[in-house]
Amino acid sequence: MQGVLAAFHELDSAVEAIEDLKKQRLGDITVYTPTPRHEFEHALKHPLSKVRIFTLIFGLCGASFGYWIPVWISDYWPLVVGGKAIVTWVPFTILGFEVMVLIGSLATVFAMFGLAGIPRLTMTVGYDPRFASGHFGVWVVTDPERTDDVVNVLKKHGAEEVRRER
């Protein structure tokens, strides 16, 4: 992977640089920001996260599984307790709900991991520790021949530091 990494100290400069880069179609842009800012979202125009689909599907699976366990248990060895029916659907809703939450939320987290690409095993290229603190980073993956253009754009918009990386 080859590209240019820029560190901005000002939010507006970074946003403008991104908009400029996008306009010039100068490669894939990754933005590093210490905190999620809507300005970047607007500038990058990514689609909505797909996490919700996993949440829904696994939540439904969890709910069915949560209902199924007690029903299966009750029927597997049917013992009468308190003169109640063997399969009591109403209280099993509790278990259905709890298992839905459990599986749904675990699925959400794992989906987030998957979609966001973590756990990430390597982070040697295109990252700077400053981005966790106060700086906004812009990492542009681009062809070697267009590198200079990218550097120029970034510098133009007030990047504090621009680095070529490979």
Binding site: L11, V31, Y32, P36, R52, P91, F97, R120, F131, G158
Partner: protein, 487 residues
């Protein structure tokens, strides 16, 4: 009779104090990192506190060992009071846990700004409180070494737990709650751990932090999925928090005992849980902001808002108490009527009155704004809240059991040193984890605070905007709605 109305002397539009920018004293992202990460690193006082907590925990562990060896008779159970301090403390800790999830999840969904500074602490409190609470159901068993009978797993006996039992619902609810709140806590921590990782010099610690941060890089892709997932987790945690304490309340409400068998229990327990949890939040954050010098993060406005929540839940709890009496009175059921008469005038009246005064009377002082912003008073109030809520559970558990249907089996209850040691031990266990947490991980969500803090903007921008308003960029994601007044 005045014929002319008198206008305000200042002639200005009235304003409210919380209308100021959330953290006026926080200027930059680096300041956030420096100040919050700066609270890490052990100090002498911390070691002392941790030592005390560990000693308390060891006391409890010793008492438990002794109890396992001797049998439950070593504790103060006196039939018909078959549940005592342990179940009381179990419900108490589960309740404590609830405020944490409320603050981190429900207030997140409601976009309540005062949440930002206190939610990490609250969430940690939740995880540790549930860890503490989770010990008690095992600890109070007659044969704790057989606790795995409660867990549904395939076995050669071909017999499974009874899914109709509220205690099995408890197992599911508590385990789910523990898992989800721990996950929620951890997921929220990932960006902050990444910050710590990038600040860390010590290679050993750095590699541990790197592992915990899962390679988080603050990229837009990560943030995009992260914020979405966080939202859904919050959406799951919100009904979960309501369900868990409802399930805990089913332990009582599903039973026949007068004083237990009431449909009001789930909402009543949830309100009580949040009330007690906020009490515990106050107990923790008021000293914490002082010791860690975080007054400009956990501002009086935040505390004021939390105190209002406290007042509200106190009123709900008070209403629930009254409703219980009213239901008993109007039921015409002599068991219920006898029991509730006995509750306030019988053998355990003192406990009931501690409960009523601490939970319903003292919190009324929060109608005064002055007291809401008085941390000393709030700290005192948080202690009485904890006490009152512990006694609320005591009043539910012990007097109900001691005064049931069969007059011949009416009894009393005297806890022994074993019960008390385990009670103390639970506090030791909780605070041990809490103390370890506050020196290892940031007590505030740094990344989230940065959302509220104004980002650095270029001079060009200031010039263009005329240096007056940071219009386009001043939309901090989660400031509270009242802060709009300053724009």
């Amino acid at each position: 009779m005045a014929t002319t109305a008198t206008p305000l002397p200042s002639g200005q539009r009235p304003n409210i104090p919380s209308a100021a920018v959330r953290f006026p004293a926080v200027k930059s992202y680096e300041q956030v990192d420096a100040e919050i990460a700066g609270t890490l690193g052990p100090s002498l006082g911390w070691f002392a506190a941790l030592g005390v907590a560990i000693l308390c925990m060891l006391l409890g562990a010793t008492a438990w060992t002794y109890q396992i060896h001797e049998g439950l008779g070593a504790a103060g159970y006196q039939p018909p009071v078959m549940w005592g301090v342990y179940i009381v403390t179990f419900v108490f800790w589960v309740g404590i846990g609830h405020a944490g999830t409320l603050i981190s999840a429900i207030l997140y969904l409601f976009r309540a700004g005062f949440r930002t500074s206190i939610y990490r602490v609250s969430e940690a409190m939740t995880v540790f409180a549930v860890m503490t609470a989770g010990l008690f159901p095992i600890l109070h068993l007659g044969r704790p070494w057989k606790f795995f009978y409660l867990i549904p797993y395939p076995n050669w006996r071909l017999i499974w737990p009874n899914p109709k039992s509220p205690l099995v619902w408890d197992v599911f609810a508590i385990l789910t709650y523990l898992t989800v709140s721990a996950t929620f806590f951890y997921v929220g921590l990932i960006p902050d751990i990444a910050i710590l990782r990038d600040r860390e010099k010590n290679p050993m610690r750095k590699s541990i932090l790197a592992m915990l941060a899962l390679g988080w890089r603050n990229s837009d892709r990560e943030w995009r999925h992260f914020t979405r997932a966080y939202l859904f987790l919050a959406a799951f945690a919100t009904p979960l928090v309501l369900s868990v304490h409802s399930v805990v309340s089913f332990d009582f409400a599903m039973a026949l005992s007068p004083g237990w068998h009431a449909t009001i229990f789930p909402p009543y327990f949830v309100a009580g849980a949040i009330f007690s949890g906020i009490g515990m939040v106050f107990t923790i954050i008021i000293p914490l902001r002082k010791v860690f010098h975080l007054e400009h993060y956990i501002t009086l406005n935040d505390i004021d808002a939390a105190a209002k929540l406290c007042l509200f839940t106190s009123c709900v709890v008070g209403l629930a108490y009254l409703t219980e009496f009213q239901v008993a009175w109007m039921s015409g059921n002599r068991f219920e009527i006898d029991y509730f008469w006995n509750r306030v005038f019988g053998q355990w009246a003192w406990a009931a009155w501690i409960m009523l005064i601490c939970n319903c009377v003292i919190p009324l002082s929060l109608f005064s704004q002055k007291l809401r912003r008085n941390t000393k008073w709030l700290f005192f109030l948080s202690l009485t809240t904890n006490l009152g809520m512990w006694f609320e559970r005591f009043v539910i558990v012990v007097p109900s059991l001691s005064h049931e249907f069969e007059p011949w089996q009416w009894g009393t209850y005297h806890p022994t040193f074993v019960d008390y040691s385990i009670l103390i031990g639970s506090f030791g266990w909780f605070f041990m984890w809490f103390l370890l947490f506050i020196k290892q991980l940031p007590v505030m969500a740094m990344a989230e605070i940065k959302e509220i803090v104004l980002p650095r903007l270029s001079h060009r921008f200031h010039a263009a905007a005329g240096g007056t308003e940071e219009a386009g960029f001043a939309n901090p994601g989660l400031t509270d709605t009242t802060s709009g007044g300053s724009h």
